[in-house]
Amino acid sequence: MATDVRIASVGMTRFGKLEAGLLDLASEAAQQALGNVKPDRLVVGSMAPEAFTGQGNLAAALADRLGLSGIPASRLESGPSSGAAALQAGILALEAGRAERVLVVGCEKMTALAHEDATRAVATLTAPQERALGLSMPALGAMMARRALHEGKCSREDLAQASVHAHKWAGKHPRAHLPKPVTVADVLASPVVADPLRVLDIAPMSDGAAAVLLTKGHGPVRVRGLGHATDRLALADRRGAHALTSFAASKAAAAMAYREAGWQPRDVQYAEVHDAFSIVALCSVEDLGLCEPGKGGAVWREEGVPVNRGGGLKARGHPVGATGVAQAVEAFEQLTGAAGARQVQARRALLHSIGGLGNNVLVTLLEAA
């Protein structure tokens, strides 16, 4: 990258079903990241604050809450990768010379609505022809899972193991939504949502916020590469031999980021992978080049590069707009030796965030400075 963009500091609330409101959560995370620093730009990632909480104009509202009214403030939306989109927008603002210190906040409050209404808001991610049939995001993931199982890409136990991994590591995270461990048998015995995916194959709806302060040249973690790609909205409209068992946008975004950083996939020493559903966890480690085809299960059995040591979306929680920034927080803590019981030895990390079912994917590469 032409500009030395750094993550200087981070902040994150608990994730879970929380009493605090959206602006309370966002400002809590923001103040942890800021300390006494005043940023000159605010970028917010949040998928659907109007639908979930009735709060629109979120960037200005948060600037106001933080006493930052006057600085440029905007909100990015790319479905569940909104936080990652905000992170990359903040990086690009620094690269363009349009800011010196950018505060990036990802936030979402999903549990204030009745579950049925929150589900309806999430369903807006799908294509009209999918919504018309009741094909929710989990149902589309289930279609991918059935195809992947049929092709021998993974076993049912491999899928369940991704959830087991998530809960194991969330148990070591003080702010995780679901820290209780689960077994493969627990996953396979949980209620079916859309066959073959069950409740414990799917990330929860959560509340929470995460924040990072980006600067030029000052901070312990350096941004090394960015990748961003989209794909056709409807799963049925994608073509290619593997259109139903992998995400072309993940592959493209990863390739873009690796090229910018001058890395190969084997250079990644820690990864935050978008595991909204167990099948997405399995497919994604392959799409990112972190394992050979058909070997995704090994990663989630901890036989390869360490991933999702904060519990991922599945168990750390998935307040959708916060997730992409929370991934940056976890990677920052890993790269600076601040991850406590979750600590791995890594200097190079990858962040992977998916909007919709693989239609808006961002990959960000970080390195300890």
Partner: protein, 62 residues
């Protein structure tokens, strides 16, 4: 028209307004892919044949 089943799912916890138990398939016919409601006997078979029919409410496969 003749089609091939690419994948399917049974919705046990569908969104509001849909009945649990609906089976939806993704099929390929004449080079195009379509979501369809499954009305065939038993479960669809992946890479197996199906007959696709257009009705007023959308595609149906059996």
């Amino acid at each position: 028209m003749e089609a091939k089943v690419l994948t399917w799912t049974r919705l046990e916890r569908p969104p509001a307004g849909f009945q649990p138990g609906r089976v939806l398939v993704l099929v390929e016919a004449a080079g195009e892919r379509h979501y369809a409601l499954w009305e065939g006997q038993g479960e669809p078979r992946l890479d197996g044949p199906a007959t696709l029919e257009r009705r007023a409410a959308g595609w149906v496969a059996r």
